[in-house]
Structures are given as structure tokens and as C-alpha cells.
């Protein structure tokens, strides 16, 4: 003990002594411990080196400061300089550093032996093996037999490297991300209405709005920091209203002014019912529509559309919508049948509640923000539902201004930045371009320095079809990075595989998962701040971070893995940069796709210097509200809005007429309950990261089934009992929760999907959205049986 420590201790004692109370025994033991050197040896926050990064988990993109000492992350804190979260985090964000340090991190490349065991090999051997298998598959079976399945958790570098390798190198379009499972319907919603992806508003809508309508969105648990921003707005302005449209009561409902519970799948009827009332009550802004909108109508024949999971569609689902011109008069006639009484019949929503919703959207002097996420997107008519929500904003003119916007939330940290903007989808190229457009391919070939005609014009497999093709054997070599499909795909048993089936599956991961369990080759990846990265969040904010610590063992970043394989396949011309330090050069090349198109990203230097910037960034200025005069540099009008990206609609937005149609599977006598699946606050997606964080695992260690009390009583189940949940596709045993954090209505059960030991996706149906091909995880039919008493 040093002299100064001793003095310090005395002064501490002195302070207590001068107070009114003496030490208690417990506190005195603490004081002794401190004096015995632990204070002297313990570090303070000032002893750490702090760097900036966005959070690794959801699409909110909270800024965190990362505290590092001796090559290890020891703490994080909410970044007070970040305009996203202003210093706050949620429990997952606070426990981020532990995500890196699970004892079973993958640290070396592992090859599966014929007997199923794994052997350690060198990076050179591993990369040679990948290159050789993809090359031989290409030679023997062509570009349709290779595939890459990526992620909305990919950094921009990972996604861009994958795009160049697959589309520019292997001339295949079999590149799709797990984001197909979570926001593809939102992409198609924005594309069909504005011919440009992503929201027009930003998070400041959460302060500027007057009314917040949450469509099937448990924001309190899924986007907690945005939810707390909204609650703060309500605290400051008590006239703010929050509406929770839901199929199950959640923690979000507890904070809502109006809870509208509806039957699964009937949201289409509710939105049309609101349109009906807006038309009836003269609340439509016809001036806005005349100036800024066109009307469209697509294919509505249920038999032609199907659900993507029955008959021939169960192998390959390729339905294409066809647009035809419509009109305001046709819209008025179209919604005439959605009377409050008919909507009540379809949805169970009382006419008075529907009227309240219509008043909220119709009130001219109040800003309305619609928020949605998986409830709307994971929907067999998810693109339609995205269209209808945006329609509500277009017909009332409540769009592209502060506090009045349709705002789609995303679940992954770079679903926007990588999957959507880089375009790592089977039909897309960067900056809203598609492979089916000659000019778009030509532009990509020119930027990439490739011969004209290199890029394949035929779209590849979307995610679910890609795995169906793997199961059939049509896809023979697949590389999976940063995602866990053998937990997250719907109807999982369809995709069961055993290594050694003649196909070659490579998985880049940071931990063992059910997906690495079936891999032929496992590559260890660097995670989060173990490498340099860029993510793009839900509000169009591009955020950059530097590498802050070394990855464990030989783990390397995903983009490096792809570049090295491409170089071994004779595709090194795609990555002409020397060595491994190509991040800035790669980003600037990627950025050139969007410059001058309204998708202008900030420069790498600007991103390094800021807490992210909202694109389009022109002359160093970000854009908070797209298409809005006075905000968006591409709008030259003095006032109002200009949907300048929608060239095909005369630079106007499209209002789509979309009917209600029933879900793919509905409860019947044999399977009488609705099953809906989702997430919990503590776990992120398949739990491969959050379950390795002690505090998060200990809070919610396993999946469970939430039952309505009446259903539970009828089944002879009480809280804690074991129940078997069965669908036509599988069964899983779970513990029962009643009146817990979520409360389903009678006839509905809920199971979270994070638990690899209790796979609810063995029950779900691989029904897909007709346009986006996103699976519907929210609606299928199950039966529940008693399996035993509480353990």
C-alpha cells in the first residue's frame, strides 16, 4: 500500500466518520478489501482507450463507445455524441463486450473428416479448398450450381466483396442474404411506390411526430432505444398518442394509448378499412394526390399468386406481379367494400376502434408516423401491407416532412447498409439497380472494369429457394457467412442435411451453431470491433468504425476470406488492391455507384470523422428528409415534395390498390391455434451471440410458449408446465408461460425463435410473400398438448 492510498483510505473514513452513521459490518469488509490493494489495482474508465462503433445487434444502430485495455474490450458505454441513441443503450448493447468472449470462439479453420469429426487445417489449405470446390462446380455445373448466402450483419465490405465475387467473378446471381427473411417486403414496398428503397424520414420523426401507429411491432423489446425516444416525446408532450396494432399483447401495449388487437393476417382489411373511412369522411388530400401521385393495381387472382409453399411452388416460387394503371376513382370504388362492419368481421376490430384509427390518419394538423417491422414484413402479403401503410400517408399527404412519415424498422445492423444498399440480393446491384436492367449491368461492368455482358441478367435464387435447391442438389456449393440458417429458416426439417451428401457447404462463423454442425468446412471470422467496418442503419445512417482489438486465434474478417478465395480463382482483378489494407479504396469504389443518383454516401473520411451521416450526402451535408423541399438537395422545388427517383411513374409516388387475402394456413379442428413467432428483448435473432452473454442467458435461458389463460385452462396447463406444440411439420416441447411479458389472445400461442435446442422453426410454414419472397413466420396452425408437470 502506498502512502497516497493510505491517505486516501483515511480520507474516505474521515468522510464517513463525519457523517451521521458508522460503518456496518458488510461495508467495513468492503472497505478493508479496498484498502488491501484492490482499489489500487483496479482500473477506472479513464484507464481504458475508448473508440467509437455502432452496436453489433439490431438495425437501430446505436452508437457505443468501446473501452479497450491490453487488447481486450472491458466495457462499453452509450455514445452521448451519437444522434441515434444520445448515450442510451438497451440491455443487449450494454452487454456487448461479453459477446466476443464466449469460451468456444472459433479460432482456426476446421475441415470435416468423412467420419464427421473436425480437423484443424491452415488458412491456405482452407482457402484453396473453397476456391477449388467452387471452381470445379462452376466448370461442371455452371453458375446456377454455386451460391452464397450472406447477411444483414455483413459489413459493407463483406457484402461488396461477395457481390463482386459472385456477380462479377462467377457470373452467378445466386447471392442472397438472410435479410430476405426480414426486410425484403419493405424493400419491395419502397421500390414499388418510390422506385427507390429505404425510408424518407429519420429518427427525429420520433420527436417531431404527434401520433405513432405501430403496425404489428413490439418496439419496446425489438427497438428499445427508439421506443424510449418515443416515450420521452410523450412524457414531454402528453397529447402525443401511441397506437399498438397487435395480434398479441406485448410490453409495447403497456405504453400505448390505444391497443387494437386483430386476427392474424387481417391487417390488410384494417388498412383498407381506414382508407374506406378516409374516403367516406372526405379526409383524403386530393390536391396532394393530383400533384404527386399515380395509382397502380397488380395481380389479385389468389390462384395465380398462391403462397409459395404448396404444389409446384414448394420447389420454386417465381410469381411476378404485373402493374396496371389505376385511378383515385377506382381506389374509392375499391375500398367501398371495406366497411367498418366487414372489417370487424374479418379482423375482430370494433368499428369504434377503426374509426379512431381513421381519425388519427385523417387529422390534418397532426403528424402521423407509422412504424413497422416483422409483423408486416414476414407476411404472405407483406409487400401489399407495406404498400397499404404508405398509401395511408400518401392519400393524406403526411409524408416526407418532420413527424409525418411511414417508417419501416429493420432488424439487422446493416440490412439497409449492406443487403439493400450494396444490393446483395439475387436480383440487385448497388444503389437500387437490378441485374435485369441492361443499363444497370453496364454501369456495374464499367465501374468494375469488366467486359460488357459479364454480369448474368437472370436473377438467382431468393433465400428460401436457394436452400430448397441445396436440398434438391441443384445447388452444389454454398458459402454461408454471418448467419445461422439452420435455426432461422422456416419449416426447418425440409432443409435437414448431413455433411458428405456430395454438396459442399462452407460456413464462416464466430461460434459453433447448428449451421456449423452441418458444414463441410468452418472458417473462423473476426467479429465486430475485431475488424474495420461500415454498417448502414434503419434511418439511412452510414456508420464506420476502426479495428479496436485483435481477433482471437487465426480468425479473419469475412471480406478478407472472400477476397482471398477470389484471388485463388483467378479473379484477383476484382480486388486490385495491394495487401490487406484495402478498406478505404474498396469503399470509395462502391460509393461511386450512388454518386449523383440520390443514393450518395458520405466519403470514407467523412464517415471516420462523424457519428455517421444520413444519405444522400451532397457537399458534406446529410439529408434528414428525402424528397422534401428544403431538406433534400435533389429537390429543386421551393415547397412540398418531389419523388424524383420514380422515373417510371413520372417522378410521382404510386398508390397501390391491394386487397385483403387470407393467410396460407389457418387454424382448423386438428390444429386449432395460431402460432406466431418472434424475438425477446434479451436475445438477438438465433442467440448465437447473446446466449454466450451470462446476464442475457441467465435472464431468458430457453424458449417457452406463451398461452392465453383460457386456452391453458382448457388444456389442463399451468405456468411452468411442459407443453408439446405440434404443427403439420414438426413438434417441440416447451415450458408454459401464462400472463407473462406477452399475452396472446385466446386461440393464439407465441414462441420465440432464439433457442437452438427448441427450434420453433421446425413448426413454421415456408409460405412466402408473393412479391418479396420473404417467409411468413407469424402465422401457421398448431395444436398444443400437455407434456408434463413443471420440472
Amino acid at each position: 500500500m502506498t502512502q497516497s492510498d493510505r491517505r486516501g483510505f483515511l480520507s474516505v473514513l474521515g468522510a464517513a466518520g463525519a457523517g451521521v452513521v458508522a460503518f456496518s459490518c458488510g461495508d467495513k469488509r468492503e472497505a478493508e478489501r479496498i484498502v488491501q490493494g484492490q482499489l489500487a489495482s483496479s482500473l477506472s474508465p479513464a484507464d481504458l482507450t475508448w473508440g467509437k462503433a455502432p452496436c453489433r445487434y439490431c438495425g437501430t444502430g446505436c452508437g457505443v463507445e468501446v473501452g479497450v485495455r491490453d487488447g481486450r474490450v472491458m466495457a462499453v458505454r452509450g455514445d452521448e455524441q451519437s444522434p441515434v441513441n444520445k448515450g442510451l443503450l438497451c440491455v443487449k448493447g450494454y452487454h456487448l463486450p461479453a459477446m466476443l468472449y464466449g469460451k468456444d470462439r472459433l479460432t482456426h479453420p476446421l475441415r470435416r473428416r468423412p467420419d464427421g469429426t473436425l480437423e484443424r487445417i491452415t488458412w491456405d489449405e482452407a482457402l484453396d479448398l473453397v476456391a477449388e470446390r467452387f471452381q470445379s462446380t462452376l466448370t461442371e455445373h455452371g453458375p446456377e450450381a454455386v451460391a452464397m448466402y450472406g447477411s444483414g450483419q455483413w459489413t459493407v465490405f463483406d457484402g461488396y466483396a461477395a457481390l463482386k465475387w459472385v456477380k462479377g467473378g462467377m457470373r452467378s446471381n445466386n447471392l442472397d442474404p438472410n435479410a430476405r427473411l426480414c426486410m425484403a417486403s419493405a424493400v419491395m414496398g419502397f421500390m414499388t411506390q418510390f422506385q427507390s428503397d429505404e425510408p424518407m424520414g429519420c429518427y427525429e420523426d420520433l420527436e417531431a411526430g404527434d401520433d405513432f401507429v405501430l403496425w404489428g411491432n413490439n418496439m419496446a423489446e425489438m427497438h428499445p432505444v427508439l421506443f424510449s425516444r418515443m416515450l420521452e416525446t410523450k412524457r414531454r408532450r402528453p397529447d402525443v398518442r401511441i397506437v399498438d396494432l397487435c395480434t398479441r399483447r406485448t410490453p409495447t401495449s403497456d405504453y400505448a394509448d390505444l391497443v387494437v388487437m386483430f386476427r392474424p393476417g387481417s391487417d390488410l382489411a384494417i388498412a383498407n378499412g381506414i382508407l374506406h373511412l378516409l374516403v367516406r369522411d372526405g379526409a383524403i388530400d386530393e390536391g396532394f394526390l393530383t400533384e404527386n401521385c399515380v395509382f397502380k393495381r397488380g395481380v389479385e387472382d389468389l390462384d395465380a399468386i398462391g403462397y409459395g409453399c404448396f404444389g409446384d411452388q414448394a420447389e420454386r416460387y417465381g410469381f411476378k406481379d404485373e402493374a396496371r394503371d389505376s385511378s383515385l376513382d377506382e381506389l374509392k370504388a375499391f375500398v367501398a367494400e371495406y366497411t367498418p362492419e366487414r372489417v370487424a368481421e374479418l379482423s375482430g376490430v370494433a368499428p369504434a376502434q377503426l374509426a379512431a384509427l381513421a381519425r388519427i390518419y385523417g387529422e390534418r394538423n397532426r403528424g402521423t408516423v407509422s412504424l413497422w417491422c416483422m409483423g408486416v414484413n414476414q407476411h404472405t402479403r407483406g409487400t401489399w401491407m407495406n404498400n397499404l401503410i404508405t398509401d395511408l400517408h400518401l392519400v393524406t399527404g403526411k409524408i416526407s416532412r418532420p413527424g409525418a412519415n411511414p417508417f419501416s424498422l429493420t432488424g439487422q445492423p446493416s440490412a439497409c447498409g449492406t443487403a439493400r444498399e450494396v444490393g446483395t440480393l439475387s436480383n440487385r446491384l448497388p444503389a437500387d439497380m437490378v441485374v435485369t436492367n441492361d443499363e444497370h449491368r453496364a454501369k456495374a461492368e464499367q465501374i468494375w472494369g469488366l467486359e460488357a455482358g459479364t454480369i448474368n441478367a437472370k436473377p438467382g435464387y431468393h433465400a428460401v429457394d436457394m436452400f430448397r435447391a441445396l436440398a434438391r442438389g441443384d445447388v452444389k456449393a454454398m458459402w454461408i457467412q454471418t448467419t445461422n440458417p439452420w435455426v432461422s429458416l422456416p419449416n426447418l426439417r425440409r432443409f435437414e442435411r448431413k455433411p458428405g451428401d456430395g454438396r459442399f457447404v462452407v460456413v464462416s462463423e464466430i461460434y459453433p451453431t447448428p449451421t456449423t454442425d452441418v458444414a463441410d468446412l468452418i472458417l473462423p471470422s473476426a467479429a465486430w470491433v475485431e475488424r474495420e467496418g461500415v454498417f448502414g442503419n434503419t434511418e439511412r445512417r452510414t456508420q464506420q468504425w476502426n479495428k479496436l482489438v485483435d481477433a482471437p486465434g487465426e480468425a479473419r474478417e469475412d471480406a478478407w476470406q472472400i477476397v482471398e478465395v477470389a484471388r485463388r480463382m483467378g479473379m484477383g482483378h476484382l480486388f486490385p488492391w495491394e495487401g490487406d489494407d484495402w478498406h478505404e479504396a474498396m469503399f470509395e469504389e462502391y460509393r461511386s455507384f450512388g454518386l449523383g443518383t440520390g443514393k450518395d454516401l458520405a466519403s470514407y473520411k467523412e464517415l471516420q470523422a462523424t457519428r455517421g451521416m444520413l444519405w444522400p450526402v451532397v457537399k458534406g451535408r446529410e439529408t434528414r428528409y428525402r424528397y422534401a423541399a428544403g431538406h433534400d438537395p435533389y429537390v429543386t422545388k421551393k415547397a412540398g415534395v418531389h419523388f424524383y427517383k420514380a422515373k417510371g411513374y413520372g417522378e410521382r409516388a404510386a398508390v397501390w390498390l391491394r386487397p385483403w387475402q387470407p393467410p396460407a394456413e389457418v387454424p382448423d379442428e386438428e390444429y386449432p391455434l395460431w402460432l406466431t413467432t418472434g424475438r425477446v428483448l434479451e436475445h438477438w435473432h438465433t442467440g448465437s451471440m447473446t446466449r454466450r452473454v451470462p446476464q442475457l442467458h441467465q435472464a431468458v435461458p430457453e424458449a417457452y410458449v406463451e398461452l392465453n389463460r383460457a386456452d391453458a385452462t382448457e388444456l389442463g396447463l399451468k405456468a411452468g408446465d411442459r407443453a408439446r406444440v405440434l404443427s403439420r411439420r414438426g413438434q417441440v416441447e416447451l415450458s408454459v408461460r401464462i400472463d407473462d411479458r406477452g399475452q396472446p389472445p385466446r386461440g393464439t400461442v407465441f414462441v420465440p425463435f432464439f433457442d437452438e435446442d427448441r427450434l420453433v422453426n421446425e413448426l413454421t410454414l415456408d409460405a412466402l410473400d408473393s412479391i418479396s419472397k420473404e417467409p411468413d413466420y407469424k402465422k401457421c396452425a398448431v395444436r398444443v398438448e400437455r407434456a408434463g408437470d413443471a420440472p
Binding site: A15, S42, S44, L88, D104
Partner: protein, 185 residues
Amino acid sequence: MRALLAVAVLALGATACAPADAGQSVEVPGQPGRSKSAAAERATRRAYDGAPPVVPHAPFGAACTSCHTAQGIEVEGLGFAPPSPHAETAGLGLTARCQQCHVLRSTDALFVESGFAGLRQDLRRGRRLNPLAPPVIPHPGFMRENCSACHDGPAAREEIRTPHPERTRCGQCHVEQVTSDVFSR
């Protein structure tokens, strides 16, 4: 050093304490019948210094703020429910959702062992210019606007209890130390 400790203990006039495990609750000094968790136990509820503590009790169903009031209250059979230090943080007011950051603990088991070693939650001395100068605040102030939550009342650890709770504008004399650097031109 031992001698010094003995002197310190004697100076406070306390009797010797029996050794005890962390996890034991301690009596609130001067308030018979009131108990709170030992400081060492409280420190185990955080992953690292600055992480939100997990909830150490079973869920009660009621709103958190019915026990965790501005001053905190004694809950019979459980101990003292401490007040919240961040009742005034934007976004964390009385209408906020506490569970956003504070989660329950329903098992001691782990999915996989963790090798994470966080920044220790510990008391740190706020440096004083001289023995009569007010100590600086050795921790971030963000989310800890309600100083009295930790520095006054039954939940306060004795070592950091303010001797002058009647003075309510703490920031007048105590400032947050945000860097170890010293000024130089």
C-alpha cells in the same frame, strides 16, 4: 498496514465483524430492522463498471417505480428498494421501461462459459486538491443525475455517503473528471 486498519476500525468505534460471504444482507446503520445488500454482492450484479445491474429479485408484476421511488422504500422481507439514479435522464423518466436495461435473473446456469473480464465495479477515490477541497466525481455523470440515490439514504455505501445531504446542488462543488490529461499549450 494491519495496524493502520485496526486503528481505523477503532477510530470508528465499531465492534469486530464476523467473516461473512458476499450475498449476505447488511443492516442499515442507525436504522434497526432495515436491511440492504452488501456492497460486494451488489457489485456482482454488473457485468462491468457502467453496465446496468440485473434485477436481484423475482418479478413482482407491479411497476418498478412503486418500490423504487424517488427516495426508495423498505420492502418487508426483502430489504431496501433503492431509488433510481437516473430519474431525470432524457428517455429514462418515470414513464420509461426499466426492463430495457435491467433484466431478471432466472437461472445461474450458463449456455457457454464466458471469458469476458470487465472493468471492475469498484469504489474509486475522487481526487482532492487538498484535504479540505471537495473531491471531483470519479465516474461519468450521464444517467447518474440523482446523486442522492447512491450518496444518501439507506442504500448509500458508507464510504461514499455525503456528510451534507442538505446541500442539494452537488455540481456546485463536485465536478466530473472526464480525462486524466492535464492542460498544456
